[in-house]
């Protein structure tokens, strides 16, 4: 018979914060593990491309310090998933340094497991050759070119590599991980029902995001039972309600009733959300459907080029009312000029966002007209070198300011630039270009584990 198993999620994203007493009270309740997700693709592809962390080292160190000390002193496992943000080897190494520094400063001793999720180009090509890669909509089939273009590729591990690490360690630092696997790994290993483990993990991974009204990030506890789980927040002024917990299946998921994990699909169509008291919800009736083939998502980032931006604004109603033709004329004149300066060889892209028309929604904007008394133009020039992007941007801003309209005769000054210089270098810019699933030979084969005694 499986007894109640309490698990603690420190917060939704390591470095975003939580109250220290939330952790202490949860440890006092006897939680059997502490978990924390550190990853997201939300901030953009640059974190995977460069190995940088979104939150500062100080912010990540503070959060890590509290949960590491609490876990080690209480003798319970700590699992940090998608370490360093993107989970690549650079991110993972950065996070390992933070962890070992805290251990030395606090004189903490524990066994550390570091699970790698970065994939070499050669390994991904082998998987592709063996028919082990499939595109996810809306992506196209993976090409060798896609693989060669990648700066970093990570695979998103399921529960199995974390379970393997937990057998030989106290603290698990995992590369890119399924968020829910951080929390499902331990209870699955103990024999709790997959539907209970995965649904609890799915809610825990966002910390206190699933409370009715969250003021700031904080902690959440799930108590797993044989066929259901209870979930409640650690901050006493927060409440979980059946609706707030049910709503959490909506968050960041394309389909709220089918949540895809490497080993199967969590089904929530029949789930019942019941209030236990005014801040605790019991969740039961979810289902888990094992996958025909075990599959992990891969993520990759590539260099899109070097960007120089120009910000300009227009107040003249005569220009605003013919903005499309004004932009077309500018583009024609600019390209003619660039043919004589840059030539046809180098590749470059000029993107203009028109705020006051469709700057926010782009192709999705139904109200695609400039109706206000001023518009802002944001030009982005992207090419293979910073020098080229800046030189194109310099021609662009000069031509834009004098771009004529038929109503005015003579040389006009049609654009207001808020900054001097008007051209701002943005450096290298990146894009996510892999949206594929890989079917590895075994659930652990893409994720080698390093063990360290600290």
């Amino acid at each position: 018979m499986l007894g109640p198993l309490p698990l603690l999620a420190a917060t939704g994203m390591l470095g975003s914060g939580f109250r220290e007493d939330s952790i202490q009270r949860a440890v006092g309740l006897g939680v059997r593990m502490i978990g924390c997700d550190a990853g997201t693709t939300d901030f953009g592809p640059h974190l995977l491309a460069t190995g940088r962390s979104q939150f500062s080292r100080a912010a990540v160190k503070r959060d890590t310090s509290v949960i590491l000390c609490s876990a080690v002193r209480a003798g319970i496992p700590l699992v940090i998933g998608s370490a360093g943000g993107a989970g690549g080897d650079l991110n993972l190494g950065w996070m390992r340094d933070v962890l070992t520094e805290i251990a030395a400063e606090q004189s903490l001793h524990f066994r550390l497991a570091v699970i790698h999720s970065e994939q070499t180009k050669a390994a991904v090509k082998d998987l592709k050759r063996d028919g082990r890669v499939r595109a996810l909509p809306p992506a196209q089939p993976l090409t060798d070119r896609d693989i060669d273009d990648s700066l970093h590729i990570v695979a998103m591990m399921g529960a199995e590599p974390i379970q393997a690490a937990l057998e030989h360690s106290d603290v698990v630092l995992a590369g890119r991980s399924s968020d829910a696997a951080i929390y499902s790994a331990l209870p699955l290993q103990l024999g709790y029902a997959p539907a209970v483990c995965w649904h609890a993990g799915k809610i825990l991974e966002c910390g206190a995001a699933a409370v009715a009204q969250r003021a700031a990030p904080d902690s959440m506890v799930a108590v797993l039972h044989a066929d259901s789980f209870d979930i409640f927040p650690m901050r006493e002024d927060y409440r979980c309600t059946p609706q707030s917990i049910a709503s959490h299946t909506l968050y960041e998921n394309a389909d709220p009733f089918r949540l895809v994990e490497p080993s199967g699909v969590l089904g929530t169509l029949e789930t019942r959300y019941t209030a236990v008291d005014d801040r605790t919800v019991n969740v039961s009736g979810s289902s888990f459907h094992p996958a025909a083939r075990y599959g992990v998502k891969i993520e990759g980032a590539r260099l899109a080029g070097y960007s120089t931006i120009v910000i300009g604004a227009i107040r003249d109603p005569l220009i605003i009312r013919q903005l499309d033709s004004w932009l077309d004329r500018l583009d024609d004149n600019l390209r003619e000029r660039l043919r004589s300066t840059v030539g046809d060889g180098p590749r470059y892209q000029i993107v203009v966002r028109v705020y006051g028309r469709n700057g926010v929604m782009g192709a999705l904007e139904p109200r695609n007209v400039a109706e206000g008394h001023e518009v802002t133009l944001l030009w982005d020039v992207i090419s293979d070198s910073q020098e080229l992007s800046r030189s194109i941007a310099a021609s662009l801003s000069h031509m834009a300011v004098h771009n004529p309209i038929p109503e005015w005769h003579g040389l006009i000054s049609g654009v207001a630039f808020p900054f001097a210089p008007s051209e701002v270098d943005r450096g290298p810019v990146y894009e996510f270009h892999l949206n594929h699933v890989v079917f590895p030979p075994t659930p652990t084969s893409l994720f080698p584990i390093e063990y360290l005694a600290l």
């Binding site: 909506l250 782009g362 192709a363």
Partner: protein, 110 residues
């Protein structure tokens, strides 16, 4: 008659991974949710027209337990890529605010 923006407790959009956009229309009372659901205020055809995207790429879900209608569609470009306009996908819900809901017909007084 009310607008969807007046009826909902929260309308939000967000990335669901770097390649998908998802929009949640959430209500705080079951009667309003049911009125919106049963009047089919949000359909794949309507979203396709409003957002200029093919209807067969769009999904609409009715989530009774969450009192929410959910819409998912592929992003025109991946999050943070050169053509992107909204890295988090957080400001893509505004066109839904003005949809009409026949709330009087549902006997509600909100």
């Amino acid at each position: 008659m009310k607008t969807l923006g007046q009826c909902a407790k929260l309308i939000r959009s967000k990335n669901a991974g770097p390649f998908w956009l998802t929009i949640d229309v959430m209500f705080d009372d079951p009667a309003t949710y049911r009125a919106v659901r049963d009047q089919r205020v949000v359909t794949v055809e309507l979203i396709g027209r409003l957002y200029g995207q093919p209807a067969d790429q769009i999904s609409v879900f009715e989530h009774d337990a969450a009192l929410a209608i959910k819409i998912s569609l592929p992003r025109p470009q991946s999050s943070g890529s050169p053509l992107d306009t909204d890295v988090f996908g957080g400001q893509q819900y505004a066109p839904l605010l003005d949809l009409n809901v026949d709330i009087d017909a549902a006997g509600l007084s909100k």
